[in-house]
Point group: C2
Chain length 481, copies 2
C-alpha cells in the first residue's frame, strides 16, 4: 500500500495549478460550463484556459499549447472532441504534466476502435509517467481544496464521505442529495472507463485519505477482481466501504454495458466478493448514502441489540418491524432498566421495547433521561429515537407561557439547542450508536442542530433502522473478519 501523499492519485486530487482544455468564448459548451464551476467554487490554485486561437477565456489569459505555459501545471483537464484527445495528451506528456482528467467520451465504451484509441492513451501516459482518470468521466471533487472539476455547482458542505463512482451523475447529482442532510463529499472521483485508474485504485487512495471516514462505491463492474479484493479487504479493516452494485440483474447488466462498456458479473459473485471484503452492500442510492452517513458518524456497536425509543406508536412499530426484518434484535431490558424507566413514564406508556412514552411530562426526560437509561443497559448496543420538536410548537409554547413574543423565535432556538445537545452527547458518552428518524427536514431547526452536532437523523424509521443494520453488519466484520 502507498501512503497518502505518495499515492499515485494524490497529485491528481491536490493540484496547485490546472491547464484546462475545452472552454471557449461560447459559454454554453460543456467545457465552458465546467470551467465556470471550477472558478465559482473558489479553487485557490492557478487555472490556465487552453485554446488553439482564443487569447482570453472567462477573463483569464488563454494559452495555445502546454509548452507555452509559465509553469508546468499539476493537472490537465480535457473536455475536447474525441479525436483531438490523443495529441493533446501527448503534448502534455512532453511538457511534463503528470496528471490528467479526460472527461471526453467516445472511446472504449463505444466499440473496438474506440478501445484501441483508449489503449493508446494509456501507452502515452505510461511513456511519460503520467496518471489520468477517465475517459468518459465527469471529473473529481476535493471539497477541502474547493476543487470541483465537474459541470455541476458543488453546494454541499465539506464532509467525510469519499466516493468512487462508475457514474458521473452519482457524483454530481449527489451534491444536492447530500446537501439535504448537511452531508458532503471529502473527495469524489468519477472513474469513467477506468482506462488507467479504477475503483481498486480509488479505494486504496481513499482508504489513506484522512478526511474520509467512509467510502461510497457505485459499481457497474469490477475490472481487476483480485486487486479490488485485496485492497478492499485491507481498507475495510480500518474504514467502512459501502457499495451499490447495479449490474446484477439482466437489465442492469445491459445498461452497464452500454454505459461504460462494463461486463457485469452475476449477482451472487459480487455478493460474495463484497461479503468477504467486509463491504456493506446497499440496494438503492438512498441506502448507499444513508449507510455511509451512519457508518461514518457512529461508534461501532458490540452486537445487534437495539432499543427503540418513541413518543409515537406508529413510527415505533415501523422501526421495530424493520429491525426484525433486517437482523436487529429488540432486546428485553434488564429488570433494573425497566424499574428506572417506569419512574419516568405515564401510565399509558410501555416499558417494553419499543419504549413508547406516548407523551413526556418533561421534554428533557425524552431527550436526555430515557435515552441515557436505555444506553446504560448492557443488552442495548444501539439506540433508535423517533424525533419531533417542530419550532412552531416551541415558539407557541413560549408565547403561551407568557414569554416575550418578539424574542420567542430566538428563545425557541436556544431551547432546541439545549434539548439537542444532550442527545448528541449520549452517543459519545456511552460509545454506542444513536440514530434518529423524523419526517421533518433540515428546515426544522431541531433537525439541523442535531445533524450539525453529529447525530444522523434520517427521513424515516425504516431508513434509520436499515442504516443501523448496515453498521451492525460492518461491526461484525470488524470483530470476526
Amino acid at each position: 500500500m502507498h501512503d497518502y501523499q505518495s499515492h499515485p492519485l494524490y497529485g491528481l486530487m491536490h493540484p496547485r495549478s490546472i491547464a484546462f482544455w475545452g472552454a471557449s468564448h461560447n459559454a454554453m459548451n460543456m467545457g465552458s460550463v465546467q470551467l465556470t464551476q471550477l472558478l465559482a467554487y473558489g479553487y485557490e490554485g492557478t487555472v490556465y484556459p487552453m485554446h488553439p486561437s482564443e487569447k482570453e477565456i472567462q477573463g483569464r489569459k488563454a494559452y495555445a499549447r502546454a509548452a507555452d505555459l509559465p509553469e508546468t501545471p499539476d493537472l490537465a483537464i480535457f473536455i475536447l472532441p474525441t479525436k483531438v484527445v490523443p495529441e493533446i495528451l501527448e503534448e502534455c506528456g512532453q511538457a511534463g504534466v503528470k496528471n490528467a482528467i479526460i472527461v471526453t467520451a467516445g472511446f472504449g465504451e463505444i466499440d473496438a476502435d474506440g478501445r484501441k484509441v483508449q489503449d493508446g492513451l494509456v501507452r502515452t501516459a505510461q511513456k511519460y509517467g503520467m496518471r489520468f482518470i477517465g475517459p468518459n468521466c465527469i471529473g473529481v471533487v476535493n471539497s477541502h481544496l474547493k476543487l470541483n472539476t465537474t459541470f455541476f455547482p458543488y453546494d454541499a458542505s465539506t464532509g467525510f464521505i469519499g466516493m468512487a463512482s462508475q457514474s458521473g451523475s452519482f457524483i454530481t447529482q449527489m451534491f444536492t442529495h447530500l446537501a439535504k442532510f448537511g452531508l458532503g463529499f471529502s473527495q469524489a472521483l468519477s472513474v469513467g472507463n477506468e482506462a488507467m485508474t479504477d475503483l481498486a485504485d480509488c479505494v486504496e487512495y481513499l482508504g489513506q485519505c484522512p478526511d474520509t471516514k467512509v467510502i461510497a462505491l457505485y459499481v457497474e463492474t469490477i475490472r481487476r477482481g483480485r486487486e479490488f479484493f485485496e485492497v478492499a479487504k485491507e481498507v475495510s479493516r480500518t474504514k467502512p466501504i459501502v457499495a451499490y452494485y447495479v449490474g446484477g440483474s439482466s437489465a442492469g447488466k445491459r445498461a452497464a454495458l452500454s454505459h461504460t462498456g462494463a461486463l457485469a458479473g452475476p449477482d451472487p459473485l459480487y455478493e460474495g466478493i463484497f461479503r468477504q471484503c467486509g463491504i456493506v452492500r446497499a440496494r438503492t442510492i438512498e441506502d448507499l448514502f444513508d449507510f455511509c452517513w451512519v457508518l461514518g458518524a457512529s461508534p461501532l456497536p458490540s452486537g445487534n441489540g437495539l432499543a427503540v425509543l418513541t413518543h409515537s406508536g406508529g413510527p415505533g412499530a415501523a422501526a421495530a418491524d424493520a429491525a426484525d426484518r433486517n437482523g436487529l434484535a429488540l432486546t428485553d431490558f434488564s429488570a433494573k432498566t425497566v424499574e428506572r424507566l417506569s419512574g419516568y413514564l405515564p401510565h399509558t406508556a410501555s416499558t417494553a421495547n419499543p419504549v413508547d412514552v406516548t407523551f413526556s411530562r418533561n421534554p428533557s426526560d425524552y431527550s436526555q433521561v430515557l435515552p441515557g437509561i436505555l444506553l446504560d443497559d448492557d443488552r442495548v448496543h444501539s439506540l433508535f429515537m423517533y424525533l419531533l420538536m417542530p419550532v412552531h410548537r416551541v415558539v407557541q409554547s413560549i408565547r403561551d407561557m407568557g414569554g416575550d413574543p418578539e424574542k420567542a423565535e430566538e428563545m425557541a432556538l436556544d431551547y432546541i439547542k439545549s434539548q439537542c445537545g444532550p442527545v448528541a452527547g449520549l452517543s459519545r458518552a456511552h460509545g454506542k450508536p444513536l440514530v434518529g428518524a423524523s419526517f421533518c427536514d433540515r428546515h426544522e431547526p431541531f433537525i439541523r442542530v442535531l445533524q450539525e452536532m453529529g447525530v444522523p437523523v434520517l427521513p424515516s424509521p425504516e431508513r434509520a433502522v436499515r442504516a443501523l443494520a448496515a453498521l451492525v453488519q460492518y461491526s461484525s466484520f470488524r470483530q470476526n473478519g
Copy 2:
C-alpha cells in the same frame, strides 16, 4: 354498500358544527393545542368550546354542557381525562349529538378493565344512534372542508390520497412528508382502538369519496377479517388501495400490541388477504405514499413493459436494475422505434433500453420528441424518465446567450414551463403512465411545475420504479381479478 352521503362516516367527516371538550385557559394542554389548530386551518363551521367552569376559551364563548348549546352540534370531540369520557358521551347522546371523535387514551389498549369501559362507550353510542371514532386516536382531516381536528398544523395541500391509519402519527407526521411532494390528503382518519369504527368502515367510506383517488392504509391488525376482505375487494375494483402492514414480524407484532392492543397475524396470512383483495402492499412508509402518488395520478398500464429514458448512465442503470428486481420488463423496441430514435441521438448514445441520450443537442428532444417516440411503441406500457433541469443552468444559459440579465429568472421559469408542459401532456395523450425521478426537490421550479401538472417525480430512480411496479401490479389485478 352505503352511498357516500348516507355513509355512517359522512356526518363525522362533514360537520357543520363542533362541540370541543378538552381545551382550557391553559394553552399548553393537548386539548388547547388541538383547538388552536382546528381554528387556525380555517374551518368554516361553528366551534363550541366546552368546559365545566370557564366562560371563554380562545376568544369563544364556552359552554358547560351539551344541553346548553344553542344548537345540536354535528360532532363532539373529546380530549378529556379517561374517567370523564363515559359521562360526557352519555351527555352528548342525550343531547342528540350523532358523531364523536374520542382522542382520549387509556381504554382497551391498556388492560381488560380499560376494555370494559371501552365496550361501555360503544353501548352508550348504540343506545343513542351515535357513531364515534377512537378512542386513543388523533382525529381526522378533511382538507376540502379545512377540517383538521389533530394537534398538528395541516400544511399540505388538498389532495387525492384518502387515508385510514391505526397510528395517529402516520396521519399528522405525513402532513410534512406529503407537502415535500406537493401532495395532500383528501381525507384522513386516525382509527385508534377501533371500538366502533375500523379500517373496513373507512375503506368503504373512502371508496365512495369523490375526492379520493387512492386509499392509503397503515395496518397493525385487521379486526374484522371477513368484512375487511369483502369491502376491500369491492373497492379495489374501482379504486386502488395501498397498505403498509407492520405486524408481520415478531417485533412488529409486539409493538402493535402495546400500541393499540392489536393482535397482529402472521405475515403470510396478511400477504394473502392483501393479494386476494387487490391491495398493493408497501414495505415502508415512504413506499406507501410513493405508491399512492403514482397509483392516484396515472392511467393503468396494459402490461409490464417499461422504457427507461435518461441522459445519465448511472440513474438509467439504477432504474433498469430496479425494474428487473421488481417484475418490470425492459422491452426491446420495435424496429420502427429504433429507427426513429436514432435520428435524434448523438453517436455516444444508446438506442437500446435504457435509452441514454448522454446529452441532447436540442433540450425539447428530451422533453417531448423522445418520450413521444417511446410511448408510441406498443411494447412500451410505461415510461420512466430521469429528469434534471436546474433553474441556475437555465438562467446562466439565458445570460450567456445575451438575454436581459434582469429578466433571466422570469424567462427561465417560462422556459421551464414550456419544457414541462409537453412531458405532462404525453402521459394523457398516450393513456400510459409516465413517472419521473430526480434528486432535486420542489425548491427547483422544474420539479414543482411538473408535479403541479400532475407528473409524479420521485426522489430517486429506484423509488420511481418501485412505484411503477406497484401500479403494474394493481393494473394486473384490475384486468385479471
